[in-house]
């Protein structure tokens, strides 16, 4: 009875989509959703059948004075359900690998806009290479946030002169973007739920992550890796804007020559 209630209530909350994930904003996120739905149908069917089977068994075979049916098992059944679950479970993995490969087995398209994302307790800092297309050299001994150099950009490197350093990520719509994730202190994370994408930023590593946002709007960036007492308020924004708005953003934020 309770198991029945369980199945019905779970299914109904899901069907009503009371608390859904937000709409996807990239082709990859759409693939993720497709794989999510596929997995949901497969496991949802198994969930309903198993719970109802359990409920049926405990009602149907409760002690009414009958004698239990003696059996030690059935080899054919064992082989059957081993094979079926093996095929279903690994089959899901095979079908879902594409969305993973799109992000991780293929580098960002050439001409992708490179943005460096640096994390520290408890802020994101984004750096654009500026007109020369080159990031200036970084030196951790030069890091001095109060003096306006939170990343430790070397003042003697000409490539760093035009670097744009901002607290929010602005990207043009439908343009491939390659984020280069770094961290200065502990492990943080970059998560945008509309992109269905998260990646840790690990000190000592430079981790590339690419995406193409296809819908103009403002989305939230949150940290999902426990990083200290301010973890819950580590937050930034992803602004997906038109190409012309992007260009005026670059002009506005460029350091005075």
């Amino acid at each position: 009875m309770l198991l029945l209630l369980l199945v019905v209530s779970t299914a109904s909350v899901w069907i009503a989509r009371l608390y859904p994930a937000p709409p996807p904003i990239s082709h990859n996120a759409i693939l993720v959703d497709r794989q999510y739905n596929l997995t949901l149908y497969a496991t949802g069917t198994a969930f309903i059948l198993a719970q109802l089977g359990l409920a049926y068994a405990i009602v149907r075979f409760r002690d009414c004075g009958q004698r239990a049916h003696f059996t030690r098992g059935n080899l054919l059944l064992e082989i059957l359900w081993t094979l079926v679950t093996l095929i279903v479970f690994t089959g899901l993995g095979v079908l879902g690998r594409g969305a993973w490969a799109d992000v991780w087995f293929t580098p960002a398209r050439s001409g992708a806009i490179q943005v460096e994302a640096t994390t520290n307790q408890f802020v994101y800092t984004f750096r654009y290479p500026g007109a020369d297309g080159k990031f200036g050299h970084l030196d951790p001994t030069l890091i001095n946030a109060p003096a306006g150099n939170p990343l430790g950009i070397d003042p003697n490197d000409p490539a760093g002169k035009d670097d744009i350093v901002v607290a929010e990520l602005t990207v043009p719509v439908n343009q491939p973007v390659e984020l280069l994730l770094r961290s200065q202190d502990v492990i943080h994370n970059f998560f945008v739920r509309e992109l269905r994408l998260q990646q840790d930023a690990v000190p000592g590593m430079l981790i590339p992550l690419h995406f193409t946002a296809s819908r103009i709007g403002t989305y939230e960036i949150v940290c999902t890796q426990l990083c200290g007492l301010g973890h819950h308020r580590m937050h930034s924004l992803l602004r997906v804007v038109s190409l012309s708005d992007y260009e005026s953003f670059l002009r506005r934020e460029s350091p005075a020559p």
Binding site: L2, L6, V13, Y19, P20, A21, Q35, Y36, A42, F47, A50, Q51, L54, I58, F61, R62, D63, R67, A68, H69, F70, T71, R72, G73, N74, L77, W81, T82, T85, L86, F89, L92, G96, R97, W100, V103, Q121, P140, T141, I143, L181, Q184, D185, V186, I187, N189, F191, R193, D200, V202, P203, M205, E220, V222, T224, L226, G228, H231, H232, R233
Partner: protein
């Protein structure tokens, strides 16, 4: 055997004093009870911590008596997160099913007088207790308990309190506690393995062992291999913290504006070492429950376990595969994306032996003559939760979906259902089932049933909605929901879960009352009250030191001979000789 014999002889000569008998006992049954009561204390502490968290998530501005400014700070919340997880994993889910029930019933079920190394057994318990006290003491140092979670990822955990409050002395005490626990666990697992291999009764072949014994045996092997690695990792982390080494710390770290003098280490190395332990740990928590559930389902279905050999094979396969898939905790960590795919397929394949177990449990129920005392209810509940929690794992096993769900409440719901609730239902099934053997009385049936229904409904009410919080992007380990704008919409679900959590916790008071009241006032029972077949019921209550009063049983058949056609009773105990027409122990000992 020698060691067990010598303690027996030493103890049988003269009566033991109170201290030697109940406190510094080498009797596996007393040690099992000591572990059990330690787990009972630990679970009480851990549940109180979780209720404080649930309260804070819904009413963050409420004034609480123990906090300095009256309102819980983020670091206090994270200390609760860390300590709740650590206490539950180590001192409840590891301690109760394996160390407590395994200690008490493994020797009884294989017809042995004690564990192979009784003094080592005592040492294991005292180390575990010491570990618990050391870990708890982290709450009472000035900056409080660590805030890095039970996973303690460096650099957050690897430097000192520059990374946050609690990361100084608190984190060190936590780590020392884990190291002590690891030693106790290693010694315990050596003992379990030796006992199972060497001390089985004549005729008790491996394929005649109860599935509980199989589960404890496989779990002990997992403990031995997993805790050794955690121990090594823990030592390295400690050296990074106190000796200036850089196993897990790379060059160029700037913490709170200060450049750290470290270099050459890798934060990911810790994650590999930790999860090489941490994933088998999940199976250490759940395998004994699987054994108990198989045992109990057969008993109250009055049928042999369906597919006994497949069940043994599945236990072994889960144990083996459990060591090959730790990387699924690290899909977003920055490790090589090709290895993610390998870990993903290994993780999906561990669903197969898990599904085989579920099918066989259903097969055991199918066509049975089902009786529903409290242990059976909890065993059925275990199967339900195991199915639910197992299936949500199929999502997380795919890196494609993990990039959406990782570190959200979806993960919290998944592992709480499968390694928390299911494992605890296994512990409850074991407690109600073996209470008569441990204390000579039955727990109250009506209260047991009430406890089951409230807990079953309550646990689902807490953890099913939690999946939806995760799907909507609710991030775990957040001290409040003010950081991101979209989190506010999820607060109604949090309120529902908090109410459910408090109600479910209150329902556990029924269990505590039933347990302690039944110690003295429960209905006295015969030596074999459930008409069961295995050796723990072949001795009287209470089993004396040495278990079988010198009359060691020999075994003549498999463990689950229920409703065998042609037999006069619907159960054939393992120790009865072949001409099993004689009356059984269960009837002989009614006077007990």
């Amino acid at each position: 055997m020698n060691s067990a014999d010598s303690t027996l002889q030493a103890s049988s000569g003269r009566p033991l004093g109170f201290l030697r008998r109940y406190l510094f006992s080498t009797d596996h049954k007393i040690i099992g009870l000591q572990y059990f009561f330690l787990a009972l204390v630990a679970v009480t502490v851990a549940i109180i911590l979780s209720l404080l968290m649930r309260f804070h998530l819904v009413w963050p501005a409420a004034h609480l008596p123990f906090t300095s400014g009256g309102i819980m700070t983020p670091e206090q919340y994270l200390a609760l997160v860390t300590m709740h997880g650590s206490i539950m994993v180590f001192f409840v889910l590891n301690t109760a099913p394996q160390s407590a029930f395994g200690n008490y019933f493994l020797p009884l079920q294989i017809g042995a007088p004690d564990m192979a190394f009784p003094r080592l057994n005592m040492l294991s318990f005292w180390l575990t207790l010491a570990a618990f006290l050391v870990m708890l003491s982290a709450f009472f140092v000035p900056a409080g308990a660590p805030i890095s979670g039970w996973t303690a990822y460096p650099p957050l955990s690897g430097i000192n309190d520059a990374t946050g409050p609690g990361e100084g002395l608190g984190q060190s005490l936590w780590l020392v506690g884990i190291l002590i626990f690891g030693v106790g666990s290693l010694l315990g697992s050596i003992n379990f393995i030796s006992t199972t291999i060497d001390l089985r009764a004549p005729g008790l072949t491996l394929m005649r062992m109860p599935l509980t014994v199989w589960a404890w045996f496989v779990t002990a092997i997992l403990s031995l291999l997993a805790f050794a690695v955690l121990f090594a990792g823990g030592i390295l982390l400690m050296l990074d913290r106190v000796a200036g080494t850089s196993f897990f710390l790379p060059a160029g770290l700037v913490v709170s504006g200060e450049l750290e003098m470290h270099g050459g280490g890798s934060p990911l190395l810790w994650q590999h070492l930790f999860w090489f332990f941490g994933h088998p740990e999940v199976y250490i928590a759940i395998l004994p429950g699987m054994g108990v559930v198989s045992h109990v389902l057969a008993n109250f279905s009055r049928k042999p376990v369906f597919g006994y050999r497949a069940m043994v094979l599945a236990l072994g396969t889960i144990g083996f595969l459990g060591f090959t898939l730790w990387g699924h905790h690290m899909f977003v960590s920055g490790m090589n994306p090709y290895s993610s795919l390998v870990f993903s397929f290994l993780t999906l394949s561990i669903g197969v032996p898990s599904a085989v177990k579920t099918f066989n449990w259903l097969g055991t129920l199918w066509g049975g003559k089902l009786q529903f005392p409290a242990p059976m209810l909890f065993a059925v509940g275990f199967v339900s939760f195991f199915v639910t929690g197992g299936l949500s794992g199929i999502f997380l096993a795919q890196p494609t979906l993990d990039t959406e769900l990782h570190a959200t409440y979806y993960v919290v719901a998944h592992f709480h259902i499968v390694m928390g609730v299911a494992a605890i239902f296994g512990i409850f099934a074991a407690t109600y089932y073996w209470f008569p053997k441990m204390f000579g009385r039955k727990m109250n049936e009506a209260l047991g049933k009430l406890h089951f229904w409230l807990t079953f409904a309550g646990a689902y009410s807490i953890f099913l909605p939690m999946h939806f919080v995760g799907i909507a992007g609710g991030v775990r380990r957040y001290a409040d929901s003010t950081g991101a704008m979209y989190l506010a919409a999820l607060q109604p679900l949090h309120l529902f879960m908090t109410i459910a959590a408090f109600s479910t916790a209150a329902a556990q008071l029924i269990f505590f009352y039933n347990f302690f009241a039944s110690l003295n006032r429960g209905k006295p029972v015969s030596a074999n009250p459930w008409n069961a077949t295995t050796l723990e019921w072949a001795t009287t209550w209470p089993p004396a030191h040495g278990n079988f009063a010198g009359q060691f049983p020999s075994v003549h058949r498999g463990p689950y001979e229920y409703s065998v056609p042609g037999a006069s009773e619907d159960f054939l105990p393992q120790h009865l000789p072949e001409d099993a027409s004689a009356p059984h122990d269960g009837e002989q000992n009614h006077a007990n």
